[in-house]
């Protein structure tokens, strides 16, 4: 059946309200054509997205896998492919001490960030769910950190953490907590704290807002029932509210994880991975391997480790999103 000649015709009304279904063999020819026309339209609507997905995600990911098995050099970049290298790039990455510490740093950074973001974000969400003067105003301003370009956040904290003339040291000194300037950015043992603080600062608005909106959705009756049953504030939180908003907590932590393993700009702006690679994460070290020393194969191998680490979250994310996944209102036939 020629779709084009049919396109101008009025479509037959679908029977029922939401009961759209695909007619199986033996359906009337008019019906079948409407179904086909809608299938075609649906696919056409999807074409740009599918093309984009293939170009911007599938191709780079596949190519990254290819690169990780190739012996690349600055000269091979022009050729798209390079000689096969077997597992050499992975062997390099696993034996390279900076790569190894970058993996450890990424884990520390991720866990530390999530703990900090969750504790502060949840506390603020609880605070904002109480009634007090100015709470709408406070809630609207708390999202500011989240809106800034990440590189700006990075340099901002570099400024605050300077040993001399940095606000952090000045506060600590005036409170009498330290008497000498703390070398936040020059001491390899301390630099990790600076990127942690900056990243927690960055993630708090996101945690606060997501958890706040979940708290808003807890039915008032449930809370009242708990009060009537004699539950104290802590018990209400622990046994009534947290179980109800648990799915949102899970999604929030998951998205926080996803965000944190990707962090790059913030660290480049704040410490540049230093001092002495003490804040080198997988992302920043991979950038260094690929774009500073032009070992794209080794960079790609490290990228793949990062990708595997990040994708650990994928099954969980899909599972938590399963309702939305299966959902289909099916206005088409």
């Amino acid at each position: 059946m020629n779709v084009k000649t049919r396109a101008g015709e009025p479509a037959p009304a679908t029977t029922g309200t939401g009961a759209a279904f695909r007619p199986v063999g033996g359906g009337s020819p008019r019906r079948l054509s409407a179904w086909r026309r809608q299938q075609l339209a649906g696919w056409l609507f999807l074409t740009p997205a599918i093309a984009y997905l293939l170009f911007a995600f599938a191709l780079p990911i596949v190519y990254n896998v290819m690169l990780s098995f190739e012996r690349t050099s600055p000269a091979t970049i022009a050729n798209f492919t390079a000689p096969f290298a077997g597992l050499d790039n992975y062997r390099f990455v696993l034996n390279d001490s900076t790569s190894r510490t970058a993996i450890v740093h990424t884990l520390e950074f991720t866990v530390g960030s999530l703990v900090g973001q969750f504790i502060i974000g949840f506390s603020l969400a609880l605070l904002f769910s109480l009634r007090f003067p100015g709470r709408t105003f406070a809630r609207s301003l708390i999202i500011v950190p989240w809106l800034l370009p990440l590189i700006v956040t990075g340099v901002m904290f570099r400024f605050l953490f300077q040993a001399e003339g940095g606000a952090v040291n000045q506060v600590l000194k005036s409170l009498g907590l330290v008497d000498q300037s703390v070398q936040w950015l020059n001491d390899p043992h301390l630099a990790m704290w600076t990127i942690l603080v900056a990243n927690i600062w960055l993630g708090v608005p996101f945690f606060t807002l997501l958890l706040y909106s979940a708290l808003q959705d807890v039915p008032v009756e449930v809370k009242e029932a708990a009060v009537i049953d004699g539950a104290g504030p802590w018990q209400r939180l622990r046994y009534v509210i947290v179980p109800i908003i648990l799915p949102v907590i899970e999604v929030t932590l998951l998205l926080g994880f996803v965000f944190t393993v990707k962090v790059f700009d913030l660290v480049i702006g704040l410490t540049g991975g230093g001092p002495a690679n003490s804040t080198q994460l997988i992302t920043t070290w991979s950038y260094n391997l690929s774009f500073q020393v032009f070992s794209f194969g080794e960079g790609a191998a490290l990228n793949n480790l990062l990708l595997v680490m990040a994708l650990v979250a994928a099954p969980l994310y899909l599972m938590l999103s399963r309702d939305s996944l299966r959902r289909s209102s099916g206005a088409g036939t």
Binding site: A7, Q38, R135, L148, P149, W201, L209, Y287, L306, R327
Partner: protein
């Protein structure tokens, strides 16, 4: 003390706590704004001033006119870079809408076999770290001679915005009653006409939410600009800021003035599109 008085006291205590939280959360932004008005001498004096100390516009002059107080390697004006960032931001919005609006519509209102696979792909795509894409895209763009170009940067920046846009718009389209589409079809509208004349106008708020986030993603992108542009051609403001950083001689005045300029869109959008930002955040916008 009556019950009423106690609860009133508690409320003010909450306000106080919220105010303290806000001061801490906004202090870094305040510090960079104050810093942008400080002279180079003040910034290197080793003392942090809580209020502007001998305020000057020199840093903004440096940033807008070119040159640097401490570095000889950078000298370019940031005006062109701001324009570049605007173009990239708007380009990311345009690309995201063209790709995401029809796709989200199809994924919510048509029964297609690929729906589950595609929606899952969008969820997984949000997880993929940008550095993984950047390394490959650099070589791919090199190969197809697209390095140092707007299209390359916008295509790359779309990776921040498009999966999120499709998921948010799809959730929105579910809220549109199917009867709208049935009615349009009965009236003889083609699928395209239904989409163009009925669906898109109704999707305004969701489209604004998605656009705000796409713009901020394109405007604030650093990693793709760092990898796909080699510094000889176009340069966004984020790279401009980076150029003032040095291992030993950071031009703090210029860094902060350029940083303040880079914060302007966020400030404008916070005032003008606050509702949409909150919606987008709650929908789980992941960045980076």
């Amino acid at each position: 003390v009556t019950h009423l008085q106690r609860s009133r006291a508690l409320r003010w205590l909450c306000s106080l706590a919220a105010a303290a939280a806000l001061v801490i959360m906004l202090f870094p932004v305040y510090a960079i704004i104050v810093g942008s008005f400080e002279s180079t001498e003040t910034l290197f004096s080793g003392t942090f001033y809580w209020l502007p100390h001998a305020a000057t516009l020199d840093n903004f002059r440096t940033v807008l006119q070119g040159g640097s107080a401490t570095q000889t390697t950078v000298g370019g004006s940031q005006v062109g870079n701001v324009v570049t960032s605007l173009v990239v931001g708007l380009g990311t919005v345009l690309l995201s809408l063209v790709v995401a609006v029809p796709a989200a519509y199809a994924l919510s209102k048509y029964r297609l076999r690929v729906t589950v696979v595609l929606v899952s792909s969008m969820l997984v795509a949000q997880i993929v770290p940008s550095i993984v894409l950047a390394t490959s895209l650099f070589i791919v763009f090199h190969w197809i001679h697209l390095l140092n170009s707007y299209p390359a940067l916008i295509l790359a920046d779309g990776t921040y915005a498009i999966p999120f846009a499709i998921l948010v718009l799809r959730a929105f389209f579910f809220s549109l009653p199917n009867e709208l589409m049935y009615a349009a079809r009965v009236d003889g509208a083609s699928e395209w006409q239904t989409f163009r004349l009925i669906v898109i106008p109704l999707a305004r708020s969701a489209v604004i939410t998605v656009s705000v986030f796409a713009f901020l993603a394109g405007w604030g992108d650093f990693i793709f600009a760092l990898t796909i542009l080699n510094g000889t051609g176009i340069q966004p403001i984020t790279l401009g800021i980076y150029s003032y950083l040095g291992n030993y001689s950071t031009d703090w005045g210029a860094v902060m003035a350029a940083g303040v300029i880079a914060m302007v869109p966020a400030a404008v959008l916070l005032v003008m599109a606050q509702r949409y930002i909150a919606t987008g955040l709650t929908a789980g916008a992941v960045r980076g």
